[in-house]
Amino acid sequence: MHDGSGRIVVQNLTKQFGPVTAVQNLSFTVEPGSVTGFLGPNGAGKTTTLRMLLGLVSPTAGFATINGSPFGRLGQPGRVVGAVLEAQGFHPKRTARNHLKVYASAVGVPDQRADQVLQLVGLGSAGDRKVGGYSLGMKQRLALATALLGDPQVLVLDEPANGLDPEGIAWLRTFLQSYARSGRTVLISSHLLAEVEQTVDQVVIISRGQTMYYGPLDHLRQSQQSRVIVQPSDVGALVTALRAEGVQAIEQLPDGRLAVAGVTSKYIADAALKAGVSVYGMQEEQIDLERLFFQLTSGQYAAPGYPGTGYYVQQQPPQQGGWA
């Protein structure tokens, strides 16, 4: 039924909820042996994509496979893929242990497995408490325990850090890395790069339902570039001058200054002089990863013509990394 490869393939996936296009022509693959981060701001379409991958939402177009097979044809999906999803529920009156036993039967593993995964996620002593009394973090742990019941080859987690304390996050990080290192596939979504930066090897960055970058995180790191912050006398004139010279990566900062990437400060000074614009101040700045992530995804909120934010935002593609 499935090829056992541990590979996740998302191919031209599109989902339309009435007038809302949640996911648009999304494609990427996730290979086993590494932790892949699935990143994008709120509303970017992460949850919808993962739910389509897991057969919970039917795509409007395109397809997604796990181990070469759509979810519905995995046969015993619980043995192949485990998932921790947002808004995945528990019956408040059921104890954690009973919850796990219910799904242990469905997955087809012995009841002892329920105790094992309870211990594994650190809920061993709370197993006989009703889930209604659990904190958000405990529920996240229980969701992970449920996902691990079938000892799956592929693990999919949708914003699993939500509700976890720092200790829990650190634990999850170590756990996921060792899980991937044993040759399995881990796909983890987040709206914060910083949250998963130390966990993931690969990233898929999406914005407004479309892939913005997909490839190794290291390539993204290497592509970090410097930018120049400049305070001109006439913002509009300098922007026009720079764009006339083919400079696209111009962004207006909230304080009114311009951030220009891809060119030196000397270049900007010359351009300003030619355009007859005075420069009151200029400084070079290294763009950090978070900044880059924001740039890649800011299109969602800082689209050209959108009032209030920089008007000239253009995505500057990183030099390396696979582009979708």
Binding site: A87, S105, A106, G108
Partner: protein, 293 residues
């Protein structure tokens, strides 16, 4: 254990790991027992009244004296019908609760297909319908036996027929609930709709139909057909022991048994099964395609 066996065990565990089953079982038993007891007393009182000389012509109608009328039959059928409301609600919550609590996500993530998960659920609830049915029949019997004279009670084969009809009715009511719950997907909606319809709406409708001489239609309605299962068995049993019963009285007897306008018990069962199938297929179609977000 095969895949289906796994899902059956999983679905059964779901039902016994929350308090809902006994939360509904207690009122079921109490109601069934209370109705059995109450209708037993009523029947007995009626027979005592009828045995007084001034209504003696009644006994001529049946060809036997009132102290031999098996009046408890009517109460038994009615009590069973009332008590099966609870297994129906139990079934109604099966899928609605999972959607409401969002456990349906995990259920679908751990089953080979949505169809398999829904089938396993239905099978488990059929079993629960039978368990509730058994509890109902036993509770009603206890109540009736305590309050009736032995001459008013059914004979062994009568008991067997009524118990079977009660079990069938309870199973079907549970399945009907499962279907409606799958269709409505809301816990409150399902409960309110099931209760309102079965207890009020259809009874009002039946009254209107009877007044207008359209009582045959009642037998086609959900409540009319499911009540017809036990009601027809009870009415048939009464008449078979009462000798010759005039036609116009037969109708009155069937109304008394809760089988007014209803067909034979097996036909009533088939009609109600069709309603169950409609609800379940509709619910299945809705659940099988639904985006779980």
């Amino acid at each position: 254990m095969g895949l289906m066996g796994n899902l059956l065990q999983s679905e059964f565990r779901k039902t016994i790991t929350t308090g809902l089953w006994w939360g509904l079982m207690i009122p079921t038993v109490l109601l069934a027992f209370g109705w059995g007891l109450g209708t037993g007393f009523l029947g007995k009182g009626f027979v005592d009244l009828a045995s007084q000389s001034d209504v003696e012509q009644l006994s001529d109608i049946f060809g036997i004296t009132p102290d031999q009328w098996r009046v408890s039959l009517f109460g038994i059928a009615r009590s069973i019908n009332v008590a099966t409301i609870f297994p129906m609600i139990f079934g109604g919550l099966a899928i609605a609760n999972e959607i409401n609590r969002r456990t349906i996500t995990t259920t679908f993530l751990t089953s080979s297909s949505r169809g398999a998960a829904l089938s396993a659920k239905m099978l488990v609830y059929i079993l629960w319908g039978a368990i509730f049915g058994l509890a109902i029949v036993l509770s009603v019997a206890l109540g009736v036996i305590l309050s009736s004279d032995s001459s008013q009670l059914p004979d062994a084969s009568g008991w067997l027929a009524l118990a079977t009809a009660g079990l069938v009715a309870s199973v079907l009511m549970t399945m009907f609930g499962v279907g409606v719950g799958a269709l409505m997907t809301s816990v409150v909606g399902t409960t309110v709709v099931l209760l309102l319809y079965m207890l009020l709406v259809e009874n009002g409708l039946s009254l209107v139909l009877s007044i207008n001489g359209l009582e045959q239609v009642i037998g086609f309605l959900p409540n009319g057909s499911v009540n017809g299962i036990t009601g027809s068995v009870a009415a048939d049993l009464f008449m078979s022991s009462a000798g010759v019963v005039p036609d116009e009285l037969q109708l009155a007897l069937r109304y008394m048994a809760g089988a007014g306008g209803a067909f034979d018990w097996w036909l009533s069962g088939l009609i109600f099964l069709s309603w169950t199938a409609i609800a379940f297929v509709g619910g299945w179609a809705a659940t099988a395609r639904k985006d779980i977000t």
